[in-house]
């Protein structure tokens, strides 16, 4: 049975299901039970159902508590940690990169490390430089970690269950602007395999490889391009490490054009990796130089007056495609785009404060 759920509900349902199925699963994060909103609804009601030992608050000790999660995973538990912003997880980078990522390889394959760390990324509403960074490239750089970025409610649930059932540390990155989107979600247990990309839209003229929320902007761009007869294929990578390279290489070989779209910094970023892989493996099939649509190499400013120039939108993707097809750039006016809500919120219902 499939019904429409919001992305945050899909995460809640996946967590609920994992806690119910396996007594070794537990959930830990700052304010997880204490937050009346339940980490944007994703943990709501779980402590009441499973008790304070399996759904626990924690001291404000991100690094130490990540070590605690790691230690418990080493002896057979399956912890899920939540950070309300990715920036708080930076305090735990020592444990994540030195320890969680290494313990299986470095000890000659002896230790399983079934650990899921959910980190929220986001944009808008003046979050500023320390509440809106997108550091997926940093985590995805590290061998031994797995990094997933679901876009649809279906994948949010299926990837979270897959992450909890995986015997390796999985960084699960969820975009704040995806929490309220609706989509079909099957009831009960299912997994979306880690390491598999998804074709979100088929097309023959250009391949747009995108991550997380930027998949939605890419789909908007594809709709706009279709008005002029340009058919874009949109690949939702879903997992950044291990990356499903074959999926988008095959697509680029068919379309001959590539735009990599990532809500992260440009230099040494995830989009750069996509371009490098295409250059290595499909260079001869390219009809035009590939392009990147990313954040500029700057901290993200708070004020909407500056943020509107920081975050790329569908129009920027459209223009990269038009340029590589020899067409002139267009404005949002020319595209008929009217922003009914301010650019610093995902929809009218979003009224802050974060």
């Amino acid at each position: 049975m499939t019904r429409d759920l919001k992305f945050f509900q899909a995460i809640n349902e996946a967590t609920d299901l994992c806690l119910a199925r396996d007594p070794s699963v537990y959930l830990m994060g700052l304010h997880v039970p204490a937050d009346p909103k339940g980490v944007f609804g994703t943990t709501l009601g779980l402590q009441k159902k499973y008790g304070p030992e399996r759904v626990m608050d924690m001291p404000t000790s991100e690094n130490g508590m990540t070590g605690v999660a790691i230690g418990s995973a080493l002896v057979g538990m399956r912890p899920i940690m939540v950070h309300q912003r990715i920036e708080f997880a930076l305090l735990a980078v020592e444990q994540i990169i030195n320890q969680a990522a290494n313990w299986h390889y470095m000890f000659g394959g002896q230790n399983a490390m079934p650990l899921v760390i959910r980190m929220l990324i986001g944009r808008g509403w003046g979050q500023g430089p320390q509440h809106s960074q997108s550091l997926q490239a940093m985590f995805a750089h590290v061998p031994g970690l797995k990094v997933v970025m679901p876009v649809t409610p279906h994948d949010a649930k299926g990837l979270l269950i897959a992450a909890v059932e995986d015997n390796n540390p999985v960084i699960y990155l969820e975009h704040r602007w995806l929490h309220d989107i609706f989509g079909p979600v099957p009831e009960g247990h299912y997994t979306v395999p880690i390491g598999k990309a998804r074709t979100a839209r088929s097309g023959s003229d250009v391949t747009i490889v995108a991550t997380s929320y930027m998949v939605l902007e890419s789909l908007r761009a594809a709709d706009l391009l279709a008005r002029n007869g340009i058919e874009a294929e949109v690949v939702d990578v879903r997992t950044l490490r291990p990356l499903d390279v074959g999926h988008f290489i095959e697509s680029v070989r068919r379309t001959g054009r590539l735009v990599a779209v990532d809500g992260g910094w440009r230099s040494l970023g995830f989009a750069a990796e996509i371009l490098a892989l295409v250059a290595e493996r499909a260079y001869g099939t390219l009809k035009a130089s590939p392009a990147r649509v990313t954040f500029p190499d700057l901290p993200s400013p708070s004020t909407p007056a500056l943020a509107q120039y920081f975050y790329p939108r569908a129009m920027h993707i459209v223009n990269e495609v038009r340029t590589m097809m020899g067409l002139p750039e267009v404005t949002e006016d020319q595209l008929g785009i009217r922003h009914e809500t301010p650019l610093d919120v995902p929809d009218k219902a979003f009224t802050g404060p974060f």
């Binding site: 130490g64 508590m65 605690v68 230690g71 418990s72 080493l74 002896v75 320890q99 394959g109 061998p143």
Partner: protein
């Protein structure tokens, strides 16, 4: 003395000493191609603590972990295989001296990042409580680790949840070449800092294996009874250089006099004297113990040196657990 005989404590310390003195002797051959942090002089803490444990209790450690690994019952041949980079090593050669592990005896792992295994040990204790297992977890670390944030984070959580952990601070007075005096206020004992977290804390003579054993035994029994964690600080002294096989007093970061004072308090010689004085053991018996240990060490070295190196394909293996 309780369930562990003095004779056993002596033999366990001597075994570690003989292993490490052998490593120091062999290191210049350049066949051990990884850093080594020798515990010579500090054996009493490892042996006294581990003698108070059950075989399935957990322990974690840091860069100077040879003594902890061996005292917990870690396999000697697998340790030497690891140092020699062989596939018979406890990490198949991927870890080296700073990453010893023997899960068959509850030695969960050692890492060289100061303080990093402290919360991991606390997490193992949390896991064993959640799984309703009656295990104690020992967390070995040095004085410098108490300057790391994770030490305080982990102790706070262990006290909050009353976890079955014994924190064992092996205070050898130096972090590499930096003395305690340049790192922590001289008016404050490490033990007192821990006590500030509300944890029962004790100090003991780290060169007296029986004193260590007594404190560890009480702490482990308390943890096993569900009465929470304990912090133990043992002052002791590293004889050889921080990293490597040699002595380094000539560098001037510590005085020859200080070194000689500590060497006069050798934990093995002290117990040796007690054993002979009290007439419980004859010199002949001690000679027999030593001869057997020397033979064991020689055999383990021969095993390691004759073990094969890992095949090239091992580079690609073990990135992810199945």
């Amino acid at each position: 003395m309780g369930s562990v005989a003095q004779r056993d404590l002596y033999a366990r310390m001597l075994r570690i000493r003989l292993v490490e003195e052998k490593l120091a002797e062999l290191y210049p051959e350049q066949l051990i191609r990884c850093p080594v942090h020798l515990s010579v002089g500090q054996e009493a803490v490892a042996v006294g603590v581990c003698a108070a444990l059950m075989p399935d209790d957990y322990a974690v450690s840091s860069h100077r972990s040879h003594a902890h690994y061996l005292a917990k019952g870690g396999d000697l041949k697998a340790m030497l295989g690891e140092l020699y980079g062989r596939v018979t090593g406890c990490c198949k050669g991927k870890g080296g001296s700073m990453h010893l592990i023997d899960r068959s005896v509850g030695f969960l792992g050692a890492v060289p990042i100061v303080g990093s295994t402290i919360p991991i040990g606390v997490g193992a204790a949390l896991g064993s409580v959640m799984r309703k297992e009656s295990r104690v977890t020992i967390v070995f670390f040095g004085d410098a680790a108490t300057e790391e944030g994770v030490f305080h984070e982990a102790v706070n959580f262990a006290v909050l949840k009353q976890l079955p952990v014994v924190f064992v601070c092996e205070n050898n007075l130096f972090s590499v070449y930096s003395s305690l005096a340049v790192r922590q206020p001289s008016t404050r004992e490490i033990c007192e800092v821990a006590r500030g977290h509300g944890i029962e804390s004790h100090r003991g003579d780290g060169n007296d294996v029986e004193a260590v054993y007594g404190l560890a035994k009480a702490a482990a029994e308390k943890a096993r009874a569900g009465s929470g964690p304990t912090f133990l600080e043992f002052k002791t002294y590293r004889w050889r250089e921080h990293c490597g096989p040699y002595y380094d007093n000539h560098l001037g970061y510590r005085s020859e006099q200080e070194f000689e004072e500590w060497r006069a308090r050798c934990p093995i010689a002290r117990l040796n004297q007690r054993l002979l004085q009290w007439g419980s053991v004859a010199q002949q018996d001690l000679d027999g113990i030593e001869a057997a240990l020397v033979a064991e060490v020689e055999e383990a070295v021969a095993f390691a040196k004759s073990s094969p190196f890992p095949e090239p394909q091992l580079l690609q293996e073990h990135l992810y657990a199945p």
